[in-house]
Amino acid sequence: MFTTIRDLIKFSPSFRFGSLILLIVAVMIVLSFFSPYEAGKLRRKVKRNQPPSATFVFGTTSQGEDVFWSTTFAIRNTLTISIIAVTIGRGIGVMLGMLSGYFGGIFDRVAQSTVESFIVIPRLPLVILIASILRGSMTMYSLGILIGLFDWAHPSKRYRSQVLSLRERDFTHTAVFSGMSTVRIVIREHLPFIIPYMLADVISGFLFSIGFEVTLSYLGLADLDSPTVGTMIYWATYYQSVFAGRAWVIIVPIVTVVLMVLGFYLMSVGLGEYLDPRKRLVRLSADAGEESEDEEPRKDKDGAWAP
């Protein structure tokens, strides 16, 4: 495990850069526990509308919040939401995908029809609808659950096809003919393939849920009192920070989101490169140090960039 990470940091520039960014993010999260302010009680604590300076590293808002310390809380909360969403979404996705891949038959057909219908239903409008129904009673945690409940259809399809292709591989047939039990085949032979895939997939799940959190909060559909990166942007636009010449109030959360998704993405790119043996061969044969930073992109039509 540790040697793998060390090798990745050594040989993959994208992994190195991505983990560096995530390290900064982690430091911010740790700092949030040593904040001079209490979580959720940052308003009217400092002088208003101060530009960035030595005392206020990222400046202050028109509500008398210290932007630096709200950012530390915001990163922590956004990641908490994402962890809940990813756990739920990937949990359902992995279960459903693997079950329908292994069982096949009627179960597979029913599961696939459900997944297909779910993919066709416009997701963003539906989430906005539910979030606007729940508005007022929405908390950080229920937002995470809501995002998670809408991000399992595409992953489950991917895991199903992964299982289907594993089942057709020669080594599976060899294992079957040599009398290995199904459970043992799944655990000993297939999980080593699926777990690394899951790792890269979980990271891309983070990209999706961070984007979704920011979008929903921007529309005012989240719990607006708990600072997340999205609610910071919401309040910044609500108090017209762009037009009132307090650009730092909105630039800080925007840069934060960009850095967070970039860190996760670069890490997943590095990881995907490492996991895909074909890529490793390409890398060996290519000129030293020249790497191709691609992975099979997620085919969600409203994933990271959807309008």
């Binding site: 029809s113 066709v120 239903i121 129904i133 979008t215 762009v242 691609d294 992975e295 990271a304 960039w305």
Partner: protein, 332 residues
């Protein structure tokens, strides 16, 4: 005949099933809302005038009947399908008594225009650049291009749009930040130029992310494709590079790209939700957003319906075209 039974019919059945389930879900979910649209409407009407309480009660009853909100959920559901099959989408609650089809028809051209343009532009540029960068993956320019795209791709769409909005709309003030056009709609250059002018920033915000996505996909596909022997053979035979890329490699990577293109067109009827909200662009997404806030079920239903049918039909068309496009599917 065999193909019809084993391939075409199951897909048409699947299409019908998907639409049925999708529409039923969108029927059910808004009705879980605690907001009653009739009470909302009556609240708006009585806010500035005093009306006889009996009149309010009878008004409420007739409004419930008109909107199809009386009776149990099952009865509503039955009547909903009966009306739908006649092609009647009902009237808007928020803009009473304007019919839903009218409101959707007003927003549709904006969304279709914006999205058709952006989809075509981003798809073409993305596929072309991705294929080039995948083929010449050792060149300096292609690596630089890729570094850039990798930085852009993971950024959430909202953030891209917001940054453009702040830079070009608020600070530099080069482009307008709300609306779709200026002046009376007419087929004159004066009017059309304002449409282009107002549409520029929304379109650019969509195109940036979409090109990055398409580029990464095209490059990944091309990189896999050029590992094939036929590419090496063509190179040894001194076939012009231009010809290898365009006629052999790019053509072989087309299948998933065309699939995606069709799906993107199917999703047009949803409108570009975030873009249209952010830039106050008068398309379907903006209509939908306002409808959600006013609990205007009929409009939500109408747009969801169009969108579900659009995406499902696009999927069906792709599935039916697959055997034509890819001979390998026919063999199975």
């Amino acid at each position: 005949m065999n193909l019809l039974r084993t391939y075409i019919l199951p897909r048409i059945l699947q299409w019908a099933l998907v639409i049925f389930v999708g529409i039923s879900a969108t029927f059910l979910i808004p009705r879980l809302s605690p907001i009653n649209p009739v009470d909302e409407m009556i609240g708006r009407m009585t806010a500035f005038a005093s009306i006889d309480p009996h009149a309010v009660v009878s008004m409420r009853e007739s409004a419930m009947a008109l909107f199809g909100l009386e009776g149990t959920l099952l009865e509503q559901y039955g009547r909903f399908w009966a009306r739908l099959l006649e092609g009647d989408l009902g009237v808007s609650f928020g803009n009473f008594p304007r019919p839903v089809s009218d409101i959707i028809a007003a927003g549709l051209p904006w969304s279709v225009g914006l999205l058709t343009t952006t989809i075509i532009i981003s798809w073409t540029i993305g596929v072309f650049l991705g294929a080039l960068a995948g083929y010449f993956h050792n060149r300096r320019w292609s690596q630089f291009l890729e570094r850039f795209v990798v930085m852009v791709y993971p950024v959430p769409y909202l953030i891209t749009a917001l940054v453009l909005f702040i830079i070009f709309g608020a600070w530099l003030q080069i482009f307008p930040i709300m609306g779709g056009s200026r002046g009376e709609p007419a087929l004159t250059w004066k009017y059309i130029s304002t449409v282009l002018y107002f549409g520029f920033l929304p379109a650019l915000s969509i195109i940036i992310g979409a090109i990055a996505f398409r580029f990464i996909m095209a490059k990944a596909l091309t990189t896999t494709e050029i590992a094939n022997d036929y590419v090496q053979y063509a190179e040894l035979a001194a076939v012009p590079k231009r010809k290898i890329i365009l006629f052999y490699v790019a053509r072989n990577t087309m299948l998933p790209q065309v699939t995606d293109l069709a799906l993107a067109f199917g999703a047009i009827f949803e409108g570009a939700l975030i873009t249209e909200i952010l830039f106050a662009y008068p398309g379907l997404g903006f209509v939908l957003y306002n409808a959600i806030y006013n609990a205007d079920y009929n409009i939500i239903m109408g747009i969801a319906l169009l969108s579900i049918v659009g995406v499902a039909t696009a999927m069906l068309i792709i599935d039916l075209l697959y055997p034509v496009l890819d001979p390998r599917v026919r063999l199975r």
